[in-house]
Symmetry: C2
Subunit: 418 residues, 2 copies
Amino acid sequence: MPLLESWVESANSPDTDFPLNNLPCGVFSSDACEPRCGVAIGDRILDLAAASAAGVLRAADPRALAAPGWNAFMALGPETWAAFRAELTGALSRNASQRPALEPFLLPRAEVRMHMPFAVAEFTDFYAGRNHAFNVGTMFRGPENALPPNWLHMPIGYNGRASSVVVSGTDIRRPWGQLKSPDHDMPAFLPSRRFDFELEVGAVVGQPSQRPVSVAEADAMIFGFVLLNDWSARDIQAWEYQPLGPFQAKATATTISPWIVTKAALEPFRTSTPPREKDLLPYLREPAPMLYDIALEAALAPAGKPETVITRTNYAEMYYSAAQQLAHHSASGCPMTVGDLLGSGTVSGKNAAERGSMLELSWGGKEPLTLDTGETRSFLEDGDRVTFRGHAQGPGYRIGFGECTGTVLPAIDKPDWA
Amino acid sequence: MPLLESWVESANSPDTDFPLNNLPCGVFSSDACEPRCGVAIGDRILDLAAASAAGVLRAADPRALAAPGWNAFMALGPETWAAFRAELTGALSRNASQRPALEPFLLPRAEVRMHMPFAVAEFTDFYAGRNHAFNVGTMFRGPENALPPNWLHMPIGYNGRASSVVVSGTDIRRPWGQLKSPDHDMPAFLPSRRFDFELEVGAVVGQPSQRPVSVAEADAMIFGFVLLNDWSARDIQAWEYQPLGPFQAKATATTISPWIVTKAALEPFRTSTPPREKDLLPYLREPAPMLYDIALEAALAPAGKPETVITRTNYAEMYYSAAQQLAHHSASGCPMTVGDLLGSGTVSGKNAAERGSMLELSWGGKEPLTLDTGETRSFLEDGDRVTFRGHAQGPGYRIGFGECTGTVLPAIDKPDWA
């Protein structure tokens, strides 16, 4: 698909994340207004709540767009999603007659504050990248036992903590937790020393289910995607995770990008999951390509210093798509809800420079990374800022996610009861 | 504490679950009204929304009590909880002057329909019963490796699925899932053959936190307790749970009793956790007794047949209290929310007749139970009704939970895509 030209000139640049082809969904506020729904277009944001209330846009209920999250809009369903996207695409295109009516509702993005784009109903995090699972498994159990026996048969996942999901730009406190060193008999309660990021893509569930759904039905339930940083305390995790999985190691925070890039915008970039090493059970087979070709990168900037891009990878590396994950999630009859967030699992490529976590990049701390500043890192240090970026590349334009960023702050002082 | 006598005569019986000392919190509807807050008193329910709106009760905002869940009331905080309880206790006591004003708001409990007593924000399930952990660990890993190394140092838990929590009386569909028999190379997608219950007590979090809280602070955040059945598909669990814990095995449904028994009602029944085998880290030490002496039982009734009580145990068997669990849950900075539900973990006593799951009662299916009807059971069969009951025993009265019940329905037909 070619670039769709817009009368918003900044949207026609090949470098913007937000051409007319994208129209990602966010929630913003300004001095003049409370949090409400908007879409990004070039260096502007369109105030959908105001434009709809004024009758300039008519395809969606203005009350849904006046909410401080996209949940109510998502609940309106795929027909409304499509009709609203078509209306917006037309109204913002080069020669649209709506320009004079719509122009007053465009604000400079640089002047607004971004919020959580939706209320997270529940958060599930998967482990669906084969390279990541193999790398982590090799470090923990050796290469011959790296992949658990079930891994090639189902997308392994665990329920995370929705209350911990925050929007890009939120500072992240280094967590306290139980750590146990192999040299000690007893654990200690200390700030994590192996605090890490995980580079992921999150799928936003836009329709509910009350029964098991097929992969095709699951695909139709997904509204869009965000960048997602599953902050992880590796030392807390190592001690706590047997036998019931990660708990406090993953509960401090999960950062998402402020923009939901819709599935509609990503349609031209669909790609297949890799060939199966073991036949999948029919309930997990994909009737069509359900991954996306999305280039991803993570950058690390020590406090007050320039950033170094420390990894470049692609969402197409995943072994299971979000649609497969959602179908599996519903298999037991688990009710799925509008606003559920499914983390892809860490996206790591095959090569060392394509790994999606410090754990893998520094190989468990044994091979510290050297940054452009000359500093080295095994895990994250206080003051480090981690920034993810991602985009799908079209001919002369890109469908971008904006940034997903967070800075690690020192742990809180030790409470007197601890 | 002695029985507090009420002018509601049925509340003065030693056999009722709901004397004046209890006043548990539920949500009910009738032909005449939408779901709203009520308390049980004897065989009646007091319509708190109507009584407050009419000005007969004044200690809590009537709008909070008109909601179809106790979340808004809980958010008002412990001072309001105490003031409202004091007002209700006075108004319902033997010689209360409020009797004529309050009597019109009492309905027969038999004539109302009970709903979820609160909106579950997030659901966390723990594994904090030593006997249960030892029994399950012995079956899976042998007695010498039964308890994981971390178990005596922290309450092990995992995040469950809030969307799956249902109120007592809701039918439960046997789940489909991936099962792998040891004799086969490949898994199959089938209805669970080892579907089970877990007898638990759930703690309802009534106040939020944004930072690590002490055990004493955690205790103060807890509003009350429910009976909780953590329905579990053992065969799905065995195949999926490594390395990230239970997922679809626990996602079909979790049943809770319709009544939240408040912490205030249980105060006289506080008891200590057992002596520690390993010193706990200070952040998990209890400054006072924080378990409760609550007798629990589970009964199983095949379709159309009388029930057999298959286990009798006590909440005081837990190794970690709900306050310890909540303190641990918050340790990493995980934000806790009004309406969070924390499952205790299966409550199993030391003896075979005190085990809280079919997995333990039938020792993994090797020692099937014989019911009073003469039938045997290793796991649950279609049509089986499982009912939990629980109460704390005072002198001449009891603080009961009502019933927590559910009937297992056959799995849905195989979907054509599966």
